[in-house]
């Protein structure tokens, strides 16, 4: 039973999601790159999971992660919750068209969606909660995304083959 549970890719993706979430919300002063890495990896994993393993329950999972990210990182609920749910809803209503694209085009879409999510989170936090947009942090996030995008896809493809 456990073997079946562990061999299920979805479970592995959810474990990855929770682990990267845990790393993102615990700030390491001297290992700040780990926080950036895990924050970007969480977004990538969530988007990949929604694209290739969409289940209706993912909407609820995104809802919960959105709330917890907002509580831990901002103390006000909105930026992550809104950006996660908007993305999942948009995917839910356009999946018929999106899944017809080639895998390379989907990869570009994943990069684009991740970037848009980072910007929208920063914008919402700025407009509603007065947190100034930190361009340096955004730059680090973009750079981290570019660096870890292909290694992450490689890890995901390995998980898919399990």
């Amino acid at each position: 039973m456990f073997r079946k549970l562990l061999s299920s890719q979805t479970i592995i993706y959810h474990l990855l999601l929770f682990f990267s979430f845990s790393l993102s919300v615990n700030y390491f002063v001297d290992l700040e790159f780990v926080n950036f890495l895990s924050y970007v990896f969480f977004h990538l994993t969530l988007i990949y999971l929604v694209f290739y393993f969409f289940q209706f329950s993912l909407i609820f999972v995104s809802f919960l992660y959105g709330i917890f990210f907002d509580i831990f990182l901002i103390d006000f609920i909105s930026p992550h919750l809104v950006s996660f749910l908007v993305f999942v809803f948009l995917f839910y209503y356009t999946k018929k068209y999106l899944l017809n694209f080639s895998s390379i085009r989907i990869s570009y879409i994943i990069i684009g969606v991740t970037l848009i999510m980072f910007i929208s989170e920063a914008l919402i936090a700025n407009i509603f909660f007065n947190y100034p947009i930190n361009y340096q942090n955004l730059g680090w996030l973009f750079l981290t995304l570019i660096i870890i995008f292909f290694p992450s896809l490689f890890i995901f493809s390995k998980i898919d083959k399990l």
Partner: protein, 273 residues
């Protein structure tokens, strides 16, 4: 018969999905709304997530926390020689100050006796240690291991040996979150040590300095002036060290806090006597 059953099943699942989506949408809307209005439910939700989810995440990342601490120790060890030299110089400087301080202390005691004044306006509620940090990306907050059971309530001043750290928010039974001075949403009523300028400060965009949001009579202080709490907003007790003015522009000034926010280990929660 089978076809009608299938159609019914599909329409029922569609109805359930739409119902679920509506619930999620409504819940999100109310959570966002109550988050802004500081409703009781949101505070309860925050305290539950801090009490139950946070320990799990901290446990999961414990190896990395240890690695981070080891790296800090390694850097400290590497800089030991330079630090030793700096400390020796500081000891010499402090010895001169100590002589002056003893003299002033004696003078103060005599003057206080003459004026019949009390010693201090602060009461220590609890000394607490840092549990975890949340100052990545957006807000600037830390978690400490003192809560309602220790007499800590919301909006209490938090200090360390260098000066003002912040104020308590989201207090639970066992722990509390501290909103650091450097957070853009924290507001502190301050004055210069010479009592000439009164202002409001909040966290600057760089996340390191504080910037003035309001200056009484539009008067700006001088570069290098020391800034202390004025006590006028009733949140922070008066005369707690905040920082030093490092930049003055036409309309505002910037303060570098005395507290090193990246190296906080222990803090004291205090209240007005």
């Amino acid at each position: 018969m089978t076809l009608s059953f299938k159609v019914k099943a599909i329409s029922r699942s569609r109805f359930l999905k739409n119902f679920f989506l509506s619930i999620i949408f409504l819940l999100s809307f109310f959570l966002i709304l109550f988050s802004k209005t500081d409703y009781f439910v949101i505070n309860k939700f925050k305290s539950i997530s801090n009490n139950y989810l946070y320990p799990i995440t901290s446990f999961l990342v414990a190896p990395l926390t240890i690695a981070s601490n080891l790296q800090t120790q390694f850097y400290e060890f590497r800089n030991l020689k330079t630090e030793n030299y700096i400390l020796k110089e500081e000891i010499m400087r402090l010895k001169k100050w100590q002589t002056l301080a003893i003299h002033n202390n004696l003078e103060n005691k005599v003057l206080k006796k003459l004026l019949n004044s009390t010693d201090s306006n602060l009461t220590l509620v609890k000394t607490a240690s840092l549990v975890s940090r949340n100052d990545f990306m957006f807000s600037k907050m830390i978690n400490i291991n003192a809560g309602l059971k220790d007499g800590v309530i919301n909006n209490m001043a938090v200090l360390n040996y260098r000066g003002l750290v912040g104020r308590t928010v989201d207090t639970n039974i066992d722990n509390s979150r501290v909103l650091l001075l450097t957070d853009p949403n924290s507001s502190i009523a301050v004055k210069t040590i010479s009592n000439t300028n009164y202002s409001l400060l909040h966290g600057a965009e760089d996340g390191i300095r504080l910037v003035s949001a309001f200056n009484k009579d539009e008067k700006l202080p001088k570069l290098g002036d020391l800034v202390v709490t004025s006590g006028s907003a009733q949140v922070f007790p008066s005369n707690i060290l905040v920082g030093k003015i490092v930049e003055v522009t036409k309309e505002k000034f910037y303060v570098l806090p005395f507290v090193d926010f990246k190296n906080i280990d222990y803090v004291q929660v205090v209240e007005n006597k």
